[in-house]
């Protein structure tokens, strides 16, 4: 009720001011669109086929085009689940008769395909025409779109292999779509006029009702589901997805091993960026010694870290042969420390 009265208020307010905004009162702003401009952009095809371009294409031509332009993502038979969900499959001859895909309610359907869902053939034409192929949208001519759609309809066993789809027979194909009766608009999530008032939907009445109970609301707490261990660790190190200060910390989910791995990867990147990897290998000598050779030489020396930091910073010659190591004043002190610690810890 409050929503209703608010709408009236808003309408009244805008109505009062809209006398100032009546037709063509924004002087000098905007211009009439030319017929060619409207034609260039008004490409939508409605369920009543308004906007459908003239043209035709058969299954065979569609097969060629699909193989060339579509199969790399969708698979040759529209079956692929590699990049997008499958286009074809999941419906029966009986579904074509009833216009309801039985697998949707029986739970037998492992995965919904485009044709198990779509109730309007215009949708598929419109979408292929405006957005496909993926990397070259709007490059298909109307005849190409008819052909590709004919091929898809044949894959779905809605039309025979020798079928030619055109603007003249597409309305007949609509009557064969397996899920053509599978949609409802009888719900509260449409924000416009209800079906009773000439619109769609139920006018906004919710389907689920809860009450704001405050005390002793139920006899017990029933846990329906908890986080599976694989899901806890599938999203990376959660500790690194929160601040390291503040009211809480991110939970360390991957443990010290994985944390070391991540740190190693970061330090290797730092070593590469700092120019170290140009002369040093992980294990063996390139120009300078390999890191494992460095570790072997300095192992057990308590001041190894500080000595190495000084050496890397200032450069040196003689310890590993006559080729000098240049000074590395460009590397920040904190980075030097990270690098040396990483090398001594058995860099990976």
């Amino acid at each position: 009720m409050s929503r209703f009265s608010k709408t009236i208020l808003v309408l009244a307010l805008l109505g009062a001011s809209s006398t100032g905004f009546a037709f063509e009162n924004f002087k000098g702003v905007g211009r009439q669109a030319t017929p060619a401009e409207v034609k260039a952009w008004d490409i939508d095809v409605r369920p009543d086929f308004k906007g459908l371009p003239k043209g035709k294409g058969n299954v065979e031509r569609g097969n060629e085009l699909f193989e060339e332009k579509c199969a790399s993502c969708h698979g040759s038979f529209g079956e692929s689940n590699e990049v997008f969900t499958p286009l074809a499959g999941g419906t029966t001859k009986d579904d074509i008769k009833t216009g309801r895909v039985k697998g949707l309610s029986s739970g037998e359907l492992p995965q919904r395909t485009t044709f198990t869902k779509v109730a309007t053939i215009s949708t598929v034409f419109d979408y292929i025409q405006r957005a496909m192929p993926w990397t070259a949208p709007k490059s298909l001519k109307p005849d190409d779109v008819y052909a590709i759609l004919a091929y898809l309809l044949n894959l779905q066993e809605i039309v025979p292999a020798d079928f030619e789809l055109s603007d003249r027979n597409i309305a007949d194909v609509q009557k064969l779509l397996p899920n053509r009766n599978g949609m409802t608009t009888d719900h509260g999530l449409w924000p416009g006029a209800s079906a009773k008032k000439g619109g769609i939907g139920n006018g906004g009445t919710p389907d689920v009702k809860n009450v704001a109970c405050m005390k002793n609301c139920k006899p017990e707490v029933q846990i329906g589901s908890t986080l599976p261990e694989y899901a806890r660790t599938a999203h990376g190190e959660l500790a690194d997805q929160n601040r390291n200060f503040g009211a809480v910390r991110g939970t360390r989910t991957l443990g010290p091993e994985a944390a070391k791995k991540a740190a190693d990867a970061g330090t290797l990147e730092l070593a590469t960026k700092s120019g170290c990897m140009a002369c040093h290998g992980m294990k063996s000598k390139i120009v300078g010694p390999g890191y494992s050779e460095v570790v072997a030489r300095y192992q057990g020396q308590p001041d190894a870290e500080s000595r190495l930091i000084a050496k890397v910073k200032a450069g040196g010659q003689g310890v590993w042969g006559s080729i000098p190591m240049p000074p590395n004043a460009h590397v920040k002190d904190e980075d030097l420390k990270t690098l040396v610690q990483w090398i001594l810890a058995g860099s990976k």
Binding site: T7, V10, L11, L13, L14, S18, F23, E24, F26, V29, G30, A33, E37, D48, K50, R100, V101, L104, S105, K117, V118, T123, D126, Y127, P137, K138, G182, M183, T184, H187, L189, W190, P191, A193, G199, G204, V208, K209, N210, M214, K215, K218, V221, I223, G224, S225, T226, A231, A234, H235, G236, L238, Q241, N242, A247, V248, R249, G250, T251, T253
Partner: protein, 448 residues
């Protein structure tokens, strides 16, 4: 170690009193390694003669840090300011396995670290259908036409120059993807609030009410009861919007977001703002509005964004985001490091208007307390709520429950599934539960 390490900043003539009696004995016994350390420590003491001992207080207070004792950066070092380097962990992230190609994927906003109700534009969630584009605003056009000539007197074209001359409004609204929390319809699937609820953002949008433009073109409201919005990107995404919403004045053709232009990922230079309705209808890179006399059954309202019911029917043109809320601090994947006082904080929103009340439970929904709403509470905008909590170290289950101005109360998982099953994907607005265990770890659980 030796006494001298405890006397920083004082140099003594060696060797008198340099070594303690124990240390002299140690040298006598052949153990010299501590000497090296002693010299190093003495060296360090010389370099930082004022270094304080922890026992005297917090070294972060007693030893002045570099930022207090040096010259800072000049103005305009960063002509476009960026967050502190210490904030690098709060970024948009993808959920692995959700989509297999980045151009048709989602990145989630890091709700676990955000404050208030405005989402920083750089952290606004992303959902693209065929990649994002950086559209040249000088070449962008908005066309308004009718599905036939009788619905609109004059189809028109507007440039950005022209749109930005028109009367504008600025309003704060939330945008939520219809599939937000969709991964969780059947069971718990993801660990943190970034992934459960992060397809949610809230901005101040500036633009022209679509109503004004339609009237400028001479729309016939009697015949034209539906609007098609279309994008200029490769996908040229389309959705049907009811004319009632446009007439209300709420639908905006927006170019501004949080005081600056829209970000490219959010539709620069022009997007539709459809308050209370799922994000897919907020068409980005908006190039065309068509008024019509029937819904359009576009791909994203006939193949996707349709809600599967247990009967096997799909709900089509489902648009409104019903009242929903979530606690963001503390939330899944976080750990309470200590017992004691916490400000429990979260977000509530409703596609049907203002949030009236948010209740919070610490015992899995047996008992509830009403949280504070941070005002002003705005229409179809995020609302921040807060409530005090003293964690005594024992297990707890935290929940929040929103009630909006229509009286609608956010449902439990049990209530929602009873009507809609578990395969709907879209419009999951169930009460979120976070379980806290003795260690302080917070995890995602579902309470029926």
């Amino acid at each position: 170690m030796g006494d001298i390490t405890k006397k920083p900043g004082r140099l003594r003539p060696a060797p008198e009193n340099f070594l303690s009696e124990d240390q002299v004995k140690a040298v006598g016994a052949g153990r010299r390694d501590f000497l090296r350390k002693s010299f190093l420590a003495a060296g360090a003491a010389m370099a930082a003669p004022l270094a304080a001992r922890a026992s005297e207080g917090d070294p972060n207070i007693l030893n002045l840090p570099a930022w207090s004792t040096s010259l800072g950066m000049p103005v305009a070092t960063n002509p476009y300011g960026m967050p502190s380097k210490f904030e690098s962990q709060l970024v948009r992230r993808e959920s692995p396995g959700l989509a297999r190609v980045g151009g048709a994927s989602v990145s989630f906003a890091p709700l676990q670290g955000l404050f208030g109700i405005i989402t920083p534009s750089g952290l606004h969630f992303e959902r693209h259908h065929q990649g994002w584009q950086d559209v040249d605003p000088t070449k962008h056009r908005l066309m308004i036409n009718g599905s036939d000539d009788s619905l609109l007197k004059k189809p028109k074209v507007y440039t950005m120059d022209e749109l930005m001359r028109l009367p504008s409004v600025s309003r704060i609204h939330f945008i939520e993807c219809g599939a937000n929390t969709g991964l969780e319809w059947g069971n718990v699937a993801v660990p943190t609030v970034q992934y459960t609820h992060g397809m949610l953002s809230c901005s101040e949008f500036t633009g022209v009410p679509l109503k004004l433009l339609l009237e400028d073109c001479g729309v016939d409201y009697k015949k034209a009861r539906y609007v098609l919005a279309e994008g200029a990107d490769g996908s040229s995404m389309t959705r049907t919007i009811p004319m009632e919403m446009v007439e209300s004045g709420e639908v905006i053709v927006a170019y501004g977001q949080n005081g600056e232009m829209l970000r490219p990922e959010n539709g620069y230079p022009l997007r539709l703002v459809v308050p209370g309705v799922q994000g897919v209808s907020w068409v980005k890179w908006l190039r065309r509005i068509e008024v019509g006399d029937m819904p359009y059954a576009t791909k994203d309202e006939a193949v996707h964004y349709i809600d599967l019911l247990p009967s096997g029917l799909h709900r089509q043109y489902s648009s409104i985001q019903e009242a929903k809320s979530v606690i963001t601090t503390p939330s899944g994947g976080q750990t309470l490091v200590e017992k004691g006082f916490f400000n429990v904080s979260g977000l509530a929103w409703s596609g049907r208007g203002r949030i009236k009340q948010v209740d919070v439970s610490f015992d899995g929904g047996l008992n509830w307390q009403t949280a504070r709403l941070e005002g002003p509470v705005q229409n179809k905008a995020l609302t921040r709520f807060n409530i005090n909590w003293v964690w005594d170290g024992s297990p707890a289950i935290l929940q929040s429950r929103a009630t909006d101005e229509t009286g609608y109360v956010q449902p439990s998982y049990g209530q929602l599934r009873k009507v809609r099953g578990t395969k709907s994907i879209y419009h999951n607005n169930a009460i979120q539960s976070w379980k806290v265990v003795e260690s302080g770890e917070v995890t995602n659980v579902q309470v029926l």
